[in-house]
Amino acid sequence: MEIGSEKEKMGFEETELRLGLPGNGGSTEGEVARKRGFSETEATTMDLKLKLSSKDAGMDLNEKAKTLKKEKNLLTADTAKHHAKAQVVGWPPVRSFRKNMLAVQKGSSEESDNKASGNIAAFVKVSMDGAPYLRKVDLKTYQSYKELSVALGKMFSSFTIVPNNLIWFFNIETGNCGSQGMKDFMNESKLMDVLNSSDYVPTYEDKVGDWMLVGDVPWEMFVDSCNRLRIMKGKEAIGLAPRAMEKCMRNRS
């Protein structure tokens, strides 16, 4: 890495790229991190300092930018992920009255949204393979798998992946393990078609940590047991199918 011939008051360490846990290198970054009030996940937080000085003679702006770019490419993906969990005091700069107000509003709007069960909302994260970000949905605001699939379709419609195939999957008459729905679902060839294509299937993680195909159990049972949703490519979901069916069998008996 060419920095320039004049290092003057800086030792090489200062221009070196550093990636390390807070407190490394005897610097004050670690203390700064603690002062900021990082949460218990501090141990996994990476404090990255890019130490490039523009003062180096003989290095024009373009070169500096190029060097910087090289190093940035090494860091970027990791940086965002690792900084994600730490909460810094006073950042983002949102006034406290605004934070409190929003919290209160969220609470009351969840209450007014509740229809059937009348208890707290059931927010779960929804991820879709290939999408750059996750969403959150409150399962209590939907009455059936169909409503959920329509909502999910809208949510992720901004991507080139067209989730119309989700609707097929939710096209289960009664949406429960009894009668018609189960027969459709158990239609082996139909299922295998989907799972072998590049279509997407919705899966969820239940309270015990197992990943299941969505649609097996009655809607209410699903809402109570779903921890998070993941819309994955059919091919990846293949391994889930047998387990899902086993579990459903167990539930029925």
């Binding site: 490039l52 523009s54 969990k85 006073g90 700069p93 949102v94 006034r95 406290s96």
Partner: protein
């Protein structure tokens, strides 16, 4: 005042106006900047100005003492005071830091017994002070408390009880102890002078009947902003009693009962012909929103930052608001909502987009660079923006400022620290380069994202009108801050947090700080020794260090430097060290 300049000017024959005439003329001057200029002309103008001044604005309560103010200005009726550094809004200043109004009130009671107006921002105000205020000034007309702390609703009760001529009570965004809503019932039954009432941020119920009667009696009521406990059913009863209303802040806009009460609401809004400002609307839904439409024709300012509107709802609403100049929204409206802003609001000058979920990083809500771009294509007069987002690109900002070169206030907050341009992975330097190059009138700038010293080189080189700069998690070395201090001739306020700027940077501004209002640096690389050097070299600056528990002895955790003719603080708490 420059003594050299004074001497020179006195030798020149100036006006032979009698002072009384001069004073009559000067009374017309309202702007404090103009008045400052006038006072510098010559000795007699200085005197004429000081006798004719009725309103004084003190931007930093520690820059001057109450005694100095009262000696210079004997006829003050209205005072505006600001206290704590702005970053105290974000919990960066420990409690009990200072800026207590008490000593000022004591002076006012002695020297300005006819005081009418007091407007405070980021000051500490106790209930005792409020009671003292209520009892000491028989002509008192207007109290405005913004972002203050230290008082409770008991203090408000004292104001309501004793201020017989009160015309304005504006309680905004304060950190107060909200004990009960009974303060509102303390206005006497024959009290009728209120013109401005804002209690939108208070959380306890007030007695609705008392409020109704109050609104009825106060025939000149122009501004009414109620808190969220006032329901949609109660609102019409207030509206019909306040026909002169120009600014309305509603309570909850949630329709709890079926449509029969809806017509009452519609009727009430039909009569609100004079509204230019609308806010509140908490818990608003698509069902209740249309009732507003008749009242929107003349709206110039709409504050929807408490209303979690979706894009479609906003779009429908904006169709009815052709005159909008200022709009505040939550990022629930998303990019689509901002597209609607671009399509419907050609006169828009100010846009603020607040985050719904500032601390939830995994879930993506909100707005991106495309929403901002859409607004910039439709709203060419945009001059003020505050934008919270999670992603931005250099190209987007370049397009935006090309469309809107008239920005005077550009505050961009990319919420994840150190975040680069998400498409190119480059730092966001070029974005802010575009801003300072295109927007020659730029007065206020807040930067964010991954930034190297290059950003600050650009700022120093191009931002010739910049007065306020806010920096967080940016820069690579001392050089960045040096560029700003060396380059921005009109810089008045510089606030920095979590940047790698150290003593060299701090000391490079030695000659600059006296021309600035203040400098704030927290969690940077400044040491106690650096601060001591600054304090020694510049005796007319107050160099204060706030020590945080458990920090390194030699580090200067939070540094606050400001010019002052008052000398060092006499009321500093133990954790504030004046060097």
């Amino acid at each position: 005042m420059d003594p050299e300049r004074k001497k020179v000017v006195e030798h020149v024959a100036v006006s032979t106006f009698p002072d009384e005439v001069l004073e009559r003329v000067l009374v017309q001057l309202k702007s404090h900047k103009d008045r400052s200029s006038v006072s510098l002309v010559c000795h007699s103008w200085y005197d004429a100005e000081r006798f004719s001044r009725t309103h004084v604005f003190i931007a930093n309560c520690y820059s001057v003492t109450p005694e100095i103010v009262s000696r210079r200005f004997p006829n003050i009726r209205s005072v505006s005071l600001k206290g704590k550094p702005r970053f105290s809004d974000f919990n960066l200043v420990p409690p009990n830091w200072g800026a207590n109004i008490r000593s000022w009130l004591v002076m006012f009671a002695a020297k300005y017994p006819f005081l009418e107006e007091l407007r405070l921002k980021r000051m500490t105000v106790t209930d005792e002070s409020l009671e003292f205020l209520a009892l000491s000034f028989p002509n008192f007309k207007a109290l405005s408390l913004l972002s203050c702390d230290g008082f409770s609703t008991d203090g408000l009760a004292a104001i309501a009880t004793h201020c017989k001529n009160l015309a304005e009570l504006d309680i905004q965004e304060n950190d107060l102890n909200d004990k009960s809503g009974s303060w509102l019932s303390c206005f006497p039954e024959n009290f009728s002078s209120l013109e401005v009432l804002n209690f939108a941020n208070l959380s306890n119920d007030v007695n609705f009947e008392a409020l109704e009667r109050l609104v009825s009696r106060c025939k000149s009521l122009k501004v009414l902003k109620v808190n969220r406990n006032i329901t949609l059913e109660q609102l019409p009863r207030l509206l019909i009693r306040a026909p002169l209303l120009t600014e309305l802040g509603t309570g909850s806009f949630l329709q709890e009962h079926p449509a029969c009460q809806y017509s009452e609401l519609e009727n009430a809004f039909n009569k609100c012909m004079n509204l230019n400002t609308l806010s509140g609307l908490s818990e608003v839904t698509a069902l209740s929103l249309p009732a507003l439409y008749p009242a929107c024709a003349n709206l110039t300012f709409m504050n929807l930052s408490c209303a979690a509107l979706q894009s479609g709802e906003l779009a429908k609403l904006l169709v009815h608001c052709p005159c909008l100049r200022r709009l505040w929204v939550l990022d629930t409206v998303e990019d689509k909502g901002l597209e609607a802003v671009g399509s419907n609001c050609p006169l828009l000058e100010e846009l603020r987009v607040f985050p719904t979920d500032p601390f939830d990083e995994d879930t993506f809500h909100g707005v991106t660079e495309s929403g901002f771009i859409a607004v910039s294509y439709g709203c060419r007069r945009l001059s003020y923006v505050l934008y919270f987002c999670r992603q931005m690109t250099n190209a987007a900002v370049a397009t935006i400022v090309q469309n809107c070169p008239d920005f005077t206030h550009f505050r961009l907050c990319i919420m994840n620290p150190w975040q680069p341009d998400y498409q190119t992975n480059e730092p966001m330097d070029e974005a802010f380069c575009a801003v300072v190059k295109s927007c020659t009138k730029l007065q206020r700038l807040a930067v964010s994202g991954l930034l190297t010293d290059l950003t600050f080189e650009y700022i120093g080189k191009y931002a010739k009108n910049l007065e306020t700069l806010s920096v967080a998690f940016a820069g690579s070395s001392d050089w960045g801050m040096q560029c700003v201090l060396g380059g921005c001739p009109k810089l008045r306020k510089l606030e920095i947090r979590d940047c790698p700027f150290g003593n060299a940077a701090l000391l490079s501004g030695l000659d600059k700080y006296e021309s600035m209002r203040s400098l704030w640096m927290s969690d940077c690389k400044v040491t106690m020794n650096g601060c001591r050097v600054l304090a020694k070299e510049m005796p007319r600056l107050n160099v204060e260090v706030i020590k945080v528990d458990g920090s390194n002895e030699s580090q200067a955790d939070k540094v606050y430097v400001y010019r002052s003719v008052a000398g060092p603080r006499t009321d500093a708490p133990p954790f504030v060290l004046t060097l």
